[in-house]
Amino acid sequence: MTQWNDNPVLTVEHLTMRFGGLTAIDNLSFNVGRGDITALIGPNGAGKTTVFNCTTGFYKPTEGRLVMRRTNGEKYLLERMPDFKISAHAKVARTFQNIRLFGGMTILENLMVAQHNPLMVASNWTIGGLLGLGGYRHANVDAIEKAKYWLDKTGLIDRADLPAAELPYGDQRRLEIARAMCTGPELLCLDEPAAGLNPKESLELNELLMYIRKEHDTSVLLIEHDMSVVMEISDHVVVLDYGVKISDGTPEEVKNDPHVIAAYLGVDDDEVDQIEEEVGL
């Protein structure tokens, strides 16, 4: 029933984020189960992206703790780490709401940049690679193979040498996921991956995420407004409203939670009193 509490990959404890007088997130706690697809939903401005920015180190939380537990047993306190180390060591990768690709570089290059850290080691921090020593050449070929694998999975393989900025919107979204996966993450944070996708692309995205979860040791945490995606693929849904968690459970539970219905969908005028009574206002 609450399998995400037994073996969480990420534990968010009492997370609070204040920007001056504005409390974007207020005492938020939830778990992300290992191997689960966890959806973080809520109306606009609920603080979902702020949770992401705290998790991936772009913001330093005002209060609270974020514990990442890797499969090899290592524990990382994400709130204490600089952003690039969270990706490199804690193995948390993310995508962005407004796509951030390296537009002037080819699709393949985008995926090669994502494998920066292992390649740096393989090239002995550039010196070995520059002199042609060590296994850099091999590592480079392996990196290209890995990139090709993800290009194949995202259906971009035949456009590998095109600049990323030339791709249509939906493909850019998929490329961003492929790029994040190339860092070999154990937790993949997707910020509205289905935004701006048509129903067919949305369906393909579902398949891709299911595949990532099944074939790779990667748990997924996603922010999404598209309920067809959320209800279809997620195992666990956390609902935020004004920085406060209002519901936490399986999609079925959340769907029928009156708090969620009130906050998310709004209610008819004649039902307000009834709902408020239920919610306890």
Binding site: F96, G104, L108, M112, V113, H116, Y136, A160
Partner: protein, 444 residues
């Protein structure tokens, strides 16, 4: 339609031209019309000389010029930009040429001194080989700066500081410790890289314009320190008697044990010049080789990714501070190498050689050539430095023509001469270059 439009065009053009003439009159009346002079006959009294004819000339020229421009360019469909673009070759035609250009340029560069010697003789070719040395030095500096500006997208207006550090490192090490050029060359590079890192640490948290200003200030600080630390650097007197490089221990001197004697040649001062030329050519080619190799390595890709999107870089686990520092240090190192070559070639250096205008020229070479393009830097420095020296006789018009050319290039090719970016890795053999319109310039 045409009949209705014509008079209105003429009318508005006349109005505009009259307005321009009026402004000119107001300005020229004071600035040209009156000239204060010292009367030679009546003691040292000041008097005003009136030049109304010159004012009238200026007004007429502005009126006529604006009228012509209005009638034929500005207010019509054939804008100046389109007119200029029409005169220039299409960029597509240039891309095929580019592939053949590189080996051709290399062959020309290698054969150049001997070809010049063959045609002009030792005496006549000396000035041209000297010019080639100068151009190649700027090519090397351009390639060094290209790492910082072109690849990593960090706008550095104080690059000449590293050139100065390199030059002074060699000059001072030679003066105080008697080190030879070949020992000092790597030391100068290391010292310049070290200064690059020292500058980098506080500066790299700045972006864009702020970074540009601080690097500019750094360049000036280095120069001012060199100028004022009289006991150590000789200040404005500079350092003279900097030792010349040797060819594997053979000095380029007359008589026994010299280069000419060892190889059984007749002594000629041109030997040293040719040697210097090949020295800088090899150093420049090394810079190019290293840069091109780095571009295909994770660090080079990280530089370019940094130029495209820094936040995305950090989300992928790239330590952006270190990455920027390596770019700065490496660019500085090549600047330092070039600087110590400059010192050994001149035999004399003073802070005067390292003014801001040098930084500006190097940056102009990189920007005109096309950010990130290696071959573009070569073409730009041949035109800029070569052109500068060739037209030395027309001193007064040189800057005018230079400015005009800059404007033409910026209208014709706003992203520089070579404005496509070659991918660093590709699956198919026939991967195309990426249009510069898609490539970011970096935000510092």
């Amino acid at each position: 339609m045409q009949a209705v439009k014509k008079p209105s065009l003429l009318e508005s053009s006349l109005k505009d031209a009259a307005g321009g003439a009026l402004v000119t009159l107001a300005l020229a009346a004071v600035m040209i019309g009156m000239k204060v002079d010292v009367a030679s006959g009546r003691g040292a009294e000041l008097f005003i000389e009136y030049r109304w004819f010159a004012v009238a000339m200026a007004v007429v020229v502005v009126f006529a010029g604006r009228l012509v421009m209005n009638l034929f360019f500005w207010r019509t469909d054939n804008s100046v930009a389109a007119a200029v673009s029409g005169l220039m070759p299409k960029s597509k035609a240039g891309s095929g040429l580019g592939a053949a250009l590189k080996p051709l340029l290399l062959i020309v560069a290698i054969a150049l001194p001997f070809a010049l010697m063959f045609w002009l003789g030792a005496r006549g070719s000396r000035q041209y080989i000297d010019l080639a040395i100068l151009v190649t030095t700027y090519v090397m500096l351009g390639w060094g700066l290209n790492i910082v500006v072109g690849l990593a997208g960090l706008l550095d207006l104080g690059y000449v500081a590293f050139y100065a550090v390199g030059a002074y490192s060699y000059a001072l090490l030679a003066q105080y410790f008697g080190f030879s050029f070949w020992i000092c060359l790597p030391l100068a590079g290391i010292l310049a890289a070290f200064w690059g890192i020292i500058l980098g640490f506080p500066v790299l948290r700045l972006r864009g314009d702020y970074l540009a200003i601080v690097t500019l200030a750094f360049g000036e600080i280095i120069r001012v320190v060199l100028l004022n630390w009289y006991e150590f650097t000789g200040g404005p007197d500079g350092i003279s008697g900097i030792p010349r490089p040797t060819f594997f221990g053979l000095e380029f001197t007359r008589g026994e044990g010299g280069f000419a004697d060892f190889f059984g040649l007749d002594y000629s001062s041109i030997h040293r010049i040719i040697f210097l030329y090949y020295l800088i050519l090899i150093m420049a080619l090394m810079t190019n080789f290293v840069t091109m190799r780095l571009r295909r390595m994770p660090i080079g890709r990280a530089w370019e990714a940094l130029r495209e999107d820094e936040i995305a870089c950090r989300s992928l686990g790239i330590n952006t501070t270190n990455t920027k520092l390596t770019a700065f240090a490496l660019g500085a190192m090549f600047g330092g190498f070039a600087g110590s070559f400059f010192a050994t070639r001149q035999g004399f250096i003073s802070p005067e050689s390292f003014t801001f205008i040098e930084s500006a020229v190097i940056l102009a070479i990189v920007v005109l050539g096309g950010l990130g393009s290696q071959i573009g830097v070569v073409i730009a420095s041949i035109f800029m430095i070569g052109g500068f020296e060739f037209f030395r006789e027309f001193e007064e018009y040189r800057m005018l023509v230079f400015g005009l050319l800059m404007v033409v290039i910026m209208v014709w090719k706003p992203r520089g001469l070579v404005s496509t970016r070659a991918p660093s890795v590709s699956l198919s053999k026939s991967a195309k270059g990426i249009s510069a319109d898609l490539v970011q310039e970096g935000h510092g």
